[in-house]
């Protein structure tokens, strides 16, 4: 069968195809639920869930393989806005969003919600400042825009460097997440899980480039959103908050605030447990003082500006048929992302309430320690070292500060905590896997494309034929993926730290060269180059300086409370100053470039870069 991947009839068929797919996935879920009731062991269910979903992604990936440049780099520019919105949402929501976000809100309360605001509001910047103009430009990659707008091989090369630094930092975190979930679901060691996860990721992106990644990402979005919402709604109904908990969980927050002083939340544990933490932060109370508010908004700023600078997100908007579609698809992306993000605090709230409210049968805090230790989910997670219960004051009752856990397990463990059947846990594992895989796919492709298109084709060998370019891209995918898995298996940093750093790297180097390329005609090559180099360099130095206060380049205390998660603020300031100052030292761009920018600013008409270059 020859599958048609472009054109009107393909687009009109998409809702039907993905409707069928969603139905099939729900049927599989129902089948697993029935089999569980018939006595299929929990482990087998977990394995089936992960294998089944990865199998589907691989199937789509193989079906949509291509050797055409336009299809490989930008999915033939034929992805309708709603579907591009779903694909971007999957591209965007990583293991950190799916697995770690609700857990972060659970443990750190209000202050962690800076990530929620930051990871949604950034799309306003994407839509108003960038996406439509980059689409009109008609580039294949983000460095392609920088290289053509400003001219010169050095600017293109600098953009490739920033892209690779930011994306590689990010991708190791995603491979770590796939490894963790694969290890838990398939019962294999973490180091093996990492390579297993990588194999799944590569199958989707190797053969079909952007086209394959797009259509698997849509499939992955559907799995991950279903997997996030089903347990939430289930818990909400059980706890009596109705089927649309996002609008009704206010009283649950109130109840937690009422219980907190009774349970003594905020008392530090008698003895800390390395690697795990006890719940000591209040659920909703923002820390007092201007410094806390400043820390909140600076983190929001880093995440937002980082969003608007991350190449694997921006390149998704190159795939729509028109500029108007690019704008619409940003709005749809935000909508689909919003569905998960505004649910995360609700999930954290219900999960906490089910653990601490003494009137619920699932409560463990304030219960005899013997009974708690006998629970199977406590035993399972304790066994792999991600949870611990210790009666530190020896009174035989579990206090809130005697319960230690790794916050990343909240989402994965919540179904078991809340007493839901294991089939839900299998579903959540599949969802987490989808989230991490889809992001890793987008990142690997962004890097491989930049290296093959910009570095190899545009800089090293401009005469390279199509076949050779696409082959290079695939070999690079393998190489970068393997390097990422190798770094991930060393477990250098946590998932969240690596993600925040990636945002800060991207914003330090790329934000102003991209924005000013559209909005400031005067911006020239020398200025852009200075902006990228100085921004990346200063940001990187500040990261190292804050983390190593005693080194010769170190600084004793962070400036204005800007710690390592917020180094982008320093980098981007340096980038802006350098770019503006150097731009004024050199003449304005020539007339041809100025005309090109005029053309860039109106939606209709041909793209700036020819379709076959």
């Amino acid at each position: 069968m020859k599958m048609q991947w472009e054109g009107e009839s393909f687009m009109q068929n998409l809702p039907k195809l993905y409707g069928l797919y969603t139905g099939g996935f729900l049927a599989f879920f129902a089948l697993m639920a029935v089999l569980e009731q018939l006595g299929l062991p929990a482990n087998v269910i977990g394995i089936l869930f992960v294998m089944f979903t990865i199998g589907i992604y691989a199937f789509i990936g193989i079906l949509s393989r291509t050797m055409a440049v336009e299809a490989y780099y930008v999915a033939g520019r034929s992805v309708p806005p709603v579907f591009n919105g779903m694909a971007t949402a999957a591209d965007w929501m990583s293991g950190a969003s799916f697995v770690a976000m609700a857990g972060g809100v659970f443990m750190a309360g209000y202050s962690y919600m800076a990530f929620i605001v930051g990871w949604t509001g950034g799309y306003i910047l994407v839509a108003t400042l960038m996406a439509p103009y980059l689409r009109k430009f008609g580039c294949y990659t983000v460095p392609d825009f920088i290289g053509t707008r400003y001219g010169g091989k050095m600017t293109r090369f600098a953009a490739v460097v920033v892209l690779v630094v930011a994306s590689f930092t990010y991708v190791t975190a995603q491979i770590t997440a796939t490894g963790t979930i694969a290890a838990r679901a398939l019962l294999i060691p973490f180091e093996v899980g990492v390579w297993f996860g990588l194999a799944g990721i590569l199958v989707c992106s190797m053969l079909g480039g952007m086209r394959a990644v797009t259509w698997t990402q849509v499939a992955q979005y559907i799995v991950l959103i279903v997997a996030y919402l089903i347990p939430l709604v289930w818990m909400s109904v059980v706890q009596g908050f109705g089927p649309i908990p996002q609008f009704t969980y206010g009283p649950a927050v109130e109840r937690i605030m009422e219980l907190e002083p009774i349970l003594g939340v905020g008392t530090p544990p008698l003895e800390a447990v390395p690697g795990l933490s006890a719940l000591t932060a209040l659920h909703a109370d923002p820390a007092a003082g201007i410094m806390a508010a400043w820390q909140f908004v600076t983190l929001v700023a880093c995440m937002m500006i980082g969003t608007a600078s991350l190449p694997h997100i921006l390149m998704r908007y190159f795939t729509t048929p028109t500029v108007r579609d690019a704008r619409n698809s940003v709005a749809w992306s935000l909508f689909f992302i919003f569905l998960l993000y505004f649910s995360a605090p609700a999930l954290a709230t219900f999960s906490k309430l089910s653990m601490i409210d003494p009137t619920l049968p699932t409560a463990i805090i304030g219960q005899p320690i013997e009974a708690v230790m006998a629970l199977s989910w406590i035993q399972n997670w304790s066994e792999i070292g991600l949870l611990r219960v210790i009666d530190q004051n020896g009174d035989g009752i579990l206090q809130i500060n005697e319960f230690f856990l790794n916050p990343d397990i909240i989402v994965l463990a919540t179904p078991e905590m809340a007493g839901l059947p294991y089939v839900i846990s299998g579903l959540v594992a599949a969802g987490g896997m989808a989230a991490a895989m889809s992001t890793a796919d987008g990142l690997l492709l962004a890097m491989a494309n930049a290296l093959s298109h910009d570095l190899y084709y545009k800089i090293i060998d401009p005469k390279a034929e199509t076949r050779k370019r696409l082959l290079t891209s695939r070999i690079l995918l393998l190489g970068i993926g393997a390097a990422g898995a190798l770094v991930a298996s060393m477990q250098l940093t946590g998932i969240l730290g690596a993600v925040a750093w990636a945002f800060c790297f991207a914003m330090s180097g790329l934000f102003f060269p991209l924005v000013l390329g559209v909005w400031w005609k005067r911006a020239n090559r020398q200025g852009a180059l200075a902006g990228m180099v100085v921004g990346l360099f200063v940001g990187w130095w500040y990261l190292l300086a804050v983390r190593n206060p005693d080194a010769w380049y170190g600084i004793a205390a962070p400036w204005l409370g800007l710690n390592d998660l917020r180094f982008g603020i320093v980098g981007i300031t340096a980038s802006l100053v350098a770019m503006v100052a150097v731009t004024y030292m050199f003449p304005a761009p020539d007339q041809e470039t100025q005309d090109m920018i005029d053309e860039l600013r109106i939606p209709s008409g041909k793209t700036i870069i020819g379709a076959t270059s």
């Binding site: 687009m11 009109q12 998409l14 809702p15 309708p80 806005p81 709603v82 209000y110 919600m113 800076a114 929620i116 605001v117 930051g118 949604t120 509001g121 799309y123 306003i124 910047l125 839509a127 108003t128 996002q246 969980y249 206010g250 009283p251 927050v253 109130e254 909703a284 109370d285 923002p286 003082g289 806390a292 508010a293 909140f296 908004v297 700023a301 937002m304 729509t320 048929p321 028109t322 500029v323 108007r324 579609d325 704008r327 619409n328 940003v330 709005a331 935000l334 909508f335 919003f338 993000y341 505004f342 605090p345 609700a346 909005w519 005029d598 600013r601 109106i602 939606p603 209709s604 008409g605």
Partner: protein, 92 residues
């Protein structure tokens, strides 16, 4: 496009830019403005949520989503007025 006069081109861009600035002002208020006062808003009860919590968990997000669909309509209206609009590929 060639048929767009220099005056129209400048006017189209001026209105596009003003629209962008307007939306970024709203964005700024809901990204940073309200959260600077979390300390005070905490004591306002909003259907059970402390208002500061609600804004960070949902309020700002809802504003962003609505804002973006509105922005698209407004920008498209500007493009239509200057004859530089394009077809949409929304699923029918």
């Amino acid at each position: 496009m060639a048929q767009l006069s220099a005056v129209d081109r400048a006017e189209h861009w001026r209105r596009t830019r003003n629209l962008m600035i307007g939306h970024l002002v709203v964005w700024f208020i809901f990204s940073f403005g309200v959260h600077m006062f979390a300390d005070q808003l905490y004591y306002v009860n909003f259907f059970g949520w402390p208002l500061s919590y609600y804004l960070a968990a949902q309020g700002s997000l809802i504003v962003f989503v609505v804002q973006l669909f509105l922005f698209n309509r407004q920008q498209n209206a500007i493009d239509v007025q200057f004859g530089v609009d394009e077809a949409s590929h929304a699923i029918k």
